[in-house]
Symmetry: D2
Subunit: 354 residues, 4 copies
């Protein structure tokens, strides 16, 4: 297995299991001379952190990142940035019940089939805890491209969705509520629904939408490494993601070309933006936007029939501390992955023409 590196020039490689000693990573390819604000890194981590509100998992992890290299006197030096997040709260006993039992719709079974061995504690490597390292990588990436801003938010929870045109959304409201939905009323309904779901011992899915503003023209590397293709891969690599669409997305398939084409203004901007800021796999300077689908968390606090490693039918019930809805904590992860993609293409584009 060698799938733990993301990016071609700005590269993040991560390691770590949910209940090992630590998780962490190495960022290689970060240009030298970037001023790094370490507080901003920690702030992003805090948005992803368990225990931050009443509607997320209550696992207690300080998620404090330590940087070991690559930053000197407040600046990047061009050498690899190694970092570690210690696992503080490893309640391994919570997971002994899954040592030989495969949780439905989890990765337990497939990891065992693939590797013949798995660290079963808390899902091991398949745990979403791994995404904390991505948030660190994304937080550094953002500082490489400070003029570009990333605005992910919760766009639906179950059947409750924010049906608003992008232009009418006040992105400043995203962090105003624990759901991270930039509409106070809708956010409240989502929050209530999540609490209701949790009280049932159940979970629910949702979607995260993301807008990226101020992207320079020219990012993306056709034909295989189109900008939206890498964004899609980045999002689909996040735990629990089932779908990705950008611009007009699936709705656009129902349209006619005469309705769908974005007509040009004289300055190269377009009057509409059904292209989602990307044409031919390359950014055109308009806002990039896309939506990511998250399935309901597989671990529920209800009894379910399942099998163990001997293929025998057993019954199990989720224990431990889990999110009833993964979407609010997924918001900073979507931002982070988007930042990794854009920073990488930003660097790649430096040599498109010379």
């Amino acid at each position: 297995m060698a799938g733990n590196t993301f990016g071609k020039l700005f590269k993040l490689t991560t390691f770590g299991e949910s209940h090992g000693a630590a998780i962490g990573g190495i960022i290689d390819g970060c240009p030298a001379g970037i001023k790094i604000n370490l507080e901003k890194v920690q702030q992003d981590l805090n948005k992803r952190k368990p225990g931050q509100s009443a509607i997320v998992t209550q696992r207690k992890e300080p998620d404090t990142v330590e940087f070991y290299s690559g930053i000197f006197e407040g600046q990047t030096t061009g050498t690899p940035i190694g970092f570690v997040i210690k696992n503080a709260n490893q309640k391994s006993k919570d997971y002994s019940h899954i040592k030989d039992t495969y949780r439905p719709s989890h990765a337990d079974y497939t990891y065992d089939e693939k590797y013949g061995i798995r660290d079963y504690r808390g899902g091991g490597r398949s745990s979403a805890r791994e995404t904390a390292s991505r948030v660190v990588g994304g937080a550094i990436a953002k500082q490489v491209i400070p003029n570009i801003s990333f605005h992910a938010f919760t766009s639906s929870v179950g059947n409750i969705s924010l049906d608003k045109n992008l232009e009418t959304i006040d992105l400043n409201l995203i962090e105003s509520n624990p759901v991270r939905c930039p509409d106070t009323a809708v956010a409240q309904r989502m929050e209530d629904y999540i609490k209701d779901i949790r009280s049932q011992g159940d979970t629910v899915g949702g979607t995260v939408q993301c807008v990226i503003k101020n992207v320079p023209k020219g990012l993306g590397e056709p034909v295989f490494d189109k900008l939206h293709a890498e964004l899609g891969k980045a999002m689909l690599s996040i735990n629990a993601v089932k779908g990705f669409e950008y611009g007009s997305g699936f709705e656009g398939t129902k349209m006619k070309g005469s309705e769908h084409n974005d007509l040009f203004n004289s300055d190269g901007s377009t009057t509409t933006n059904l292209s989602g800021g990307i044409q031919g796999g390359i950014s055109n300077g308009m806002d990039i936007y896309f939506t990511v689908a998250f399935k309901p968390v597989a671990t529920i606090m209800q009894k379910q029939p399942t099998i163990n490693s001997q293929g025998l039918q057993v019954e199990m019930q989720g224990k431990g501390r889990h999110d009833p809805c993964v979407v609010p904590r997924a918001v900073p992860i979507v931002d982070a992955m988007a930042a990794l993609v854009i920073a990488d293409f930003y660097l790649q584009n430096k040599i498109s023409k010379i």
Copy 2:
């Protein structure tokens, strides 16, 4: 630009513009000793070929592939497989009108912004003609994994969709009609609609669904190179694609965990398959299925306002030979890209444990 290679072990690198001398590619990493049926390669190409039916572009291209290396006495030798498809019918004059004019929602503008120069003839590198090389690569990939079968089909055109459960679809009907929809009645409605759209000088989008059968357990490389993440990237890299979902997809976001979880049978198979054959980014042996969204083709035979390279407003109308709906010809491309992904992961998985 270095985005013209797909795959990590089974690697396809392509070259070629729509109206250059030829397109082609190199397949590197194909294991030795694979018996190659060259007719099957040509058959796949013929499914993608222009001029094959009344509802696709009437550009005439024989699309005959020539192999130059890597196959000896009917077998692969482990050395790179070089191939070329000559461009026979290069009506370059059809495209002189776009030399200095940017077609709306095309890649003309972004290529110029990125590279400062573009081969404007027929869209150059951004033309879907490039996908012929992908079909060749996919056709070889399929022969590396002969037990695995790929079944892409047209699942919707505009608002006309095949609303059938996967189990009830007769996949043998896919090639029974020019739309490649495995339901004769729905296919006829789609065909009529496409003809109607064409008579308007317009275009329409649609979706392609794909089922992959007999995938071994264990394919996919977490955490970044999850099986569905690479599938998603592969599909999103195809011209005109706007979205990708697998398994329960976007609909799954509305479900509860208690509804969504796939319960196990004793043999490790599952009673339902909302996971779409992939759990934790690794295949679990169930059918893999996904849906790909294609926007309407941007080139329409209607007058549109646009700008030229000086930023002046001009009016233009599509010329040349174009598809009113890209979906029927996209079907073999989706199959090809899926085969490239699966063959690559098949090889990668050979060393997951030793």
Copy 3:
């Protein structure tokens, strides 16, 4: 096998066997807007071409390169550059005697062991004919970095060596004789020796030295991709190469630090250049120079005992048209590989700091 790509940003992928239909390659990652002089490419190919003088193989190959993509109206477009060199003179009958017999110190045996099959005609993929594609790649690379010049030359043939200090060598003399040794008298001795060796049906080794002038400071990517490490890999990947040294090389191991250190002038240049233009894996602006060791060609026109694929002892004698000494034709290949390395690092260095 997936070892047919060289470079990270400026990438050359090659295909082709000695006696297949064609050899060729794809250059991906060449920046847009580079003016390409196609005659210079052919000139480099002609230096490597068989039959160019009395002391090289008399195989007749025009080695005419055809470019299929990536160059438009005389300039690179940023898209992949596909090219093909047809194999004109495929005297396959010359090689039937090695179909089942392993030539000593050739790749016949190891290819069979690795792949279980091999194209035995003329050595197939293991033939040095493959290097023609490298020369094409290198010739394009040189035009990306026109200010940097490459000066490979024959520095020894057998025991006859050019024992001159680099500063005293007149690099303009390299092409003045068929041996490519920039000293007329020494070149004549080498030429006579090669003819003598050929008349014995034997072969001989030699060395090629290369000087690269006007390299900007800062090229090379520690810690693994040091400039000299990639140069070494590039050279060692050429057929028949057994060794590589740069700067003071093996002789430098006998020196003391006080003798070996290159002291600085005020402008950062150094009074001596035992470092060979590279310190800590990064170019320092001084001339880069290195030496490459080539073994004697394995195919000799004398009877040798060997084994066949059944392990039986048989006797064989070289047939066909071979070089008695590979070094004169290796000179343009060394230049080409050096240019590929430098162009790649030149592009990589564009993002060391931003």
Copy 4:
């Protein structure tokens, strides 16, 4: 800079500066189910450790490696192996004199030119301290291929060389003396010479030879990733290396083909081994052997003229704790890098044919 990863399938990525908080790395692509003996890892580290004998630097570093992931209940799990080595003894004050001054033949100047900033403490990333992470990677690699053994040793120090045929060397003697030369008498002369050199405040170079035994046939990926090309790159990437040769090496250039060819025995082995166990870039099952040239350490305890970052001439004298001869401590590094190369090709070869 993104040159901190080595390997294609078995991949080591390292981070860390000489005087930062820690160095470390991530091994990605290690197959699951490998039993890991952690003591052997530490033993290899101890061979590289400073302060181990009277003839090496007296910097005190315990060099204790901590593994954070990827190993569970004594076995690899197929997930990335993250590890850290804390920097215990960071006498940063020793290095304040080089903050603005460029040490001759060091990387100070080139790092500043490339990155515009450098961690000057102890050479920062350019310090050979980084190689400790390579030793960890190599120690894990060896356990993936337990039947293959690596035997690097000191073959020369200055003009004192071990002029012995490989077959007559007793490899068991390597660790019998601090120089790591498998001949007691020669080792003693080398040791005396190193002490003499140190007393002069000077340094000296040398060579390391390495024999790899029991390598399976078929390793290496032509044409660019030939086995010896990657070995060469691996060795040249080690600090202070100036040259690499394998098999007959530079001496072989003086031979005739009739002398140099290795004739076959019936079992495919050869009567001689001038090929050094590699033919056409692929292992043939014979012993692989090669020699690596190390220049004298640049830091000497004598006064030298140099320049500072303003280009002014200054005088400097080495301080701190440095090796008078790098070769004895380079021996385990050569072994480690060789193991990384062989393990990687071992995995790659799993898919040469299927």
